[in-house]
């Protein structure tokens, strides 16, 4: 008998050997489908209402911000807020220098850089980026999309496109950072799938990371 005509060495035999990965992948895809279905229900019912206004009070969600006039009609808007145990004058420098090629976004830059964003969070205040001006470009990634600075109220507001970082002093040593973000226009099925399927979730992780990063930097620079 030729070696190639021998029965398989494995007692399981070729049929079972091929059946194993088939069962494994079928179970894997079923598990993935189940997870996605459960996540969809949980996301719509619980997670989305929570994260679209993460940390913000009812009043802050309804409050008009200086950047509101730059928000296009018909977009999805989130309002998130966090209390920082530092005066606004110590928070503002970290907001002023946000951007790729500047002080980074103070978010999870190790995630951003998986997409060649070339973003590096500064761990100190960078004097050269402390005076953003209307019309300056703020990049989201290297050689990637950018938006113009729409409004600057030094020490209080930075608005890029319609994205607003708004500082509210809460006494001498505390500041409320409110961040209002408008989605890109969702005018087609493709744009809706991209926004609701990937972008909104990715943005929530990165924006929460950014707000935590700003809080950490401002509070540690005592």
């Amino acid at each position: 008998m030729n070696t190639l005509d021998r029965p398989p060495v494995s007692a399981a035999g070729p049929a079972n050997a091929q059946a194993r990965p088939r069962q494994l992948v079928r179970r894997l895809l079923m598990a993935v489908g189940l997870f996605l279905a459960v996540f969809a229900v949980l996301y719509v019912g619980v997670l989305r209402p929570y994260h679209m206004r993460w940390g913000a009070t009812d009043a802050e969600v309804l409050q008009a911000l200086p950047g509101d006039p730059y928000i296009p009609a018909g977009v999805v808007v989130s309002t998130r807020a966090i209390t920082i145990d530092a005066p606004a004058a110590r928070v503002w420098p970290w907001v002023a220098q946000l951007g790729q090629g500047r002080g980074g976004f103070q978010s999870f830059d190790w995630l951003e850089n998986l997409f060649a964003a070339d973003i590096h969070n500064a761990d100190r205040i960078l004097p050269q980026y402390q005076t953003p001006r209307v019309g300056d470009h703020l990049s989201y990634m290297k050689d990637g999309p950018f938006e113009p600075v729409s409004l600057v109220i030094p020490g209080r507001d930075l608005v890029v496109g319609g994205w607003d970082w708004h500082l509210v002093p809460l006494g001498p040593d505390r500041t409320r950072l409110i961040v209002r973000y408008p989605s890109f226009p969702v005018r087609s099925w493709g744009a809706a799938a991209l926004y609701y399927g990937i972008f909104e979730q990715a943005h929530l992780v990165m924006e929460i990371g950014m707000m935590l990063g700003i809080k950490r930097q401002a509070e540690s620079a005592r």
Partner: protein, 169 residues
């Protein structure tokens, strides 16, 4: 040995098995990365908010990261499935032609050869397509999207080749 000595092989099944190994490897890689991303982001959240204020944020970010990783893996699984099918066919063909004596050394050689035949042109095309972005300046990007997946692919080819010789010929 002549070609007529060989048992008939269901090439469709071989390709399908390879495709499934590619899909399974994609999800395994994505799962490992997802766990890493959840653990690392949780460290930041706990560090800034403290354990008592962080649970809602931790849960939201962890579930969302798990979803994003799963969604990306699902969207990207077609490529590894095709690569898995192609490499399984090549390994099966090469093993039947050159490794009738079931030599593990030859199996390793075939695994490396098939992996190289697919990985080297793929990386060359990616290098051409991405240009400057495929550089050490973006080492995280290159390692995450191409370096580690290539390592997983080469390992899978080696294991498939060895397993093929042991079980299926």
């Amino acid at each position: 040995m002549t070609r007529r000595d060989l048992q008939p092989l269901d090439w469709g099944k071989v390709a399908w098995t390879g495709a499934q190994i590619g899909i399974a490897a994609t999800f395994a890689y994505a799962s490992l990365f997802g766990l890493y991303a959840i653990a690392r982001s949780a460290g930041t959240i706990l560090d800034v908010l403290g354990p008592f204020a962080a649970w809602g944020t931790l849960t939201t970010v962890a579930l969302t990261l798990a979803y994003l990783v799963t969604a990306f893996a699902l969207l990207l699984a077609l490529g590894p499935a095709l690569a898995g099918a192609a490499s399984a066919l090549l390994i099966a063909g090469a093993s039947r032609r050159w490794n009738g004596d079931r030599s593990p050394d030859k199996a390793i050689g075939i695994g490396f050869l098939v992996a190289g035949l697919l990985v080297v042109p793929f990386l060359a095309l990616v290098r051409l397509g991405l240009g400057e972005r495929f550089a050490l300046a973006h080492w995280e990007t290159v390692v995450f999207w191409f370096g580690l997946p290539s390592f997983v692919f080469v390992t899978a080819c080696l294991l498939t080749s060895l397993t093929w010789v042991r079980r299926t010929l």
